[in-house]
């Protein structure tokens, strides 16, 4: 049963990811992106990582994508008003994404598929285990990440102020 759900989710996910790129209207590709986030959350649930799945939805679908939706709706982006990109920009985009593809392939090449354990039985994604690991083994990176967030917030508030008096 799990394997059918996995294939169903994967097909939906790949379809919506492609539609993100193919859609003509900015808002449609944004909605496809949100849909692909939900399918990704479904994959997390299949791996018994419910906490990750829900946090993924809260943070990405619930917060970040709402902001994106805001800006796309208010800017009203569409094909007619878009300025055509220069040749150099296109070339740079192709090279950058090509490099990313090579990195991903080389990372996945060494991965031995036959040795995977039945991962859906693992308890590593539960809140208790995740909390214990975050607050013992990974305490320092966790705290540093929070400092990073604070600095980003302070920066955003600073930039958003009307009068800048340094």
């Amino acid at each position: 049963m799990d394997i059918y759900i996995f294939y169903g989710l994967s097909i939906l996910m790949i379809f919506s990811s492609i539609m993100v790129l193919v859609s003509k209207k900015g808002i449609h590709s944004l909605l496809y992106l949100i849909f692909s986030f939900f399918t990704l959350a479904g994959h997390y649930v299949l791996l018994n990582a419910q906490f990750l799945a829900v946090v993924h939805i809260i943070v990405y679908a619930g917060a970040i994508m709402v902001l994106f939706l805001f800006s796309v709706m208010l800017l009203n982006l569409n094909v007619e008003s878009e300025v055509p990109k220069s040749l150099y920009a296109r070339l740079a985009a192709v090279v950058a994404s090509g490099l990313l593809l090579v990195t991903l392939i080389s990372a996945l090449k060494g991965f031995d598929i036959s040795s995977t354990k039945p991962i859906h039985l693992s308890q590593i994604g539960t809140v208790e285990n995740l909390g214990k690991i975050l607050y013992s083994d990974y305490l320092l990176p966790f705290e540093i990440a929070s400092v990073l967030f604070i600095s980003a917030m302070v920066g955003a508030v600073m930039l958003g102020r009307k009068e800048l008096n340094f």
Binding site: L31, I57, A61, L74
Partner: protein
Amino acid sequence: MDANFFIYKLILIAAILGLSLLVAMYATLLERKLAAFFQDRLGPNRAGKWGLLQPLADGVKLFFKEEFIPASADKFLYVLGPSLSMLVALLTSAVIPWGPSINIGGTEYALQVANVNIGVLYLFAIVSIGVYGIMIGGWASNNKYALLGAVRASSQMISYELALGLSIVALVMTSGSLNLSEIVNQQDGFKWNIFYQPLGFIIFLICAFAETNRAPFDLPECETELIGGYHTEYSSMKLGFYLFAEYINMFVSGAIIATLFLGGYDFPGIDQLGLSQNALAAAGFLVLFAKISFIIFLFMWIRWTLPRFRYDQLMKLGWKKLLPLAVLNIILTGFISLLMQ
């Protein structure tokens, strides 16, 4: 997963769906009756005895209205908007424990569709995606009032989501669990969370009003400024879905408040009645239902008593009052629970 279990869950889902729709239907009648009472009128009393058939008449009226899609609207998103609103409103009821477990033929069945470990976070996730239905509908209408209403609605919901989430954090700190049925079991015997988290309860209640877009926070559909807000262009059953989703949201948030703060299906002395297990489950469900009804009444009571906020007042209340209060509540909760140890 055996077949019995599967069939039981399907029946439970259908029952909860039916119940939500029925309650939402009659909540519309109750709202109009209460409004009439507060304004010294009679209210609807023509359709059936005491107007009991009024919701049906309203439904028939909405169904037979002309189905109209504006020419410049984005057709697919225009239909998607109300559907999403309805879907999200109904999704939340999946994790609410509706009563103690029942016993059918020697097997225990929980009166809860999904007993997930992260029930509280699930609730929060659903709340955070609740904004899409309104935003998509308002944008797809291609109408400036609808767009302004949608933008207002979403900024209001995002602002109040923060204080809502922080008030739940303090609750989770005292209960030590994210599992909703465990939170209810901990409140057994009149140890309701409202006594331990009074400030959190008030913050949660206010935010629930804002999240359901009910007065005094109904700015997204503020008629005097925005015609009808995000559903200006909608007609027929699509408008009906938007309006109906509000009542379902009210029912579900009543259930959430009762579960998190008012002890769920617990009532002092319910164990001493000497009831059999199934009768106890029924009694527990009735108790929960009474609590939900009271909260729905509270929603309506406030709507017909308080005037609407101004938009800047709304934002000031959310960001400058409720958010610091919620943070203070977390700090106080942590401090007191450290002292109690």
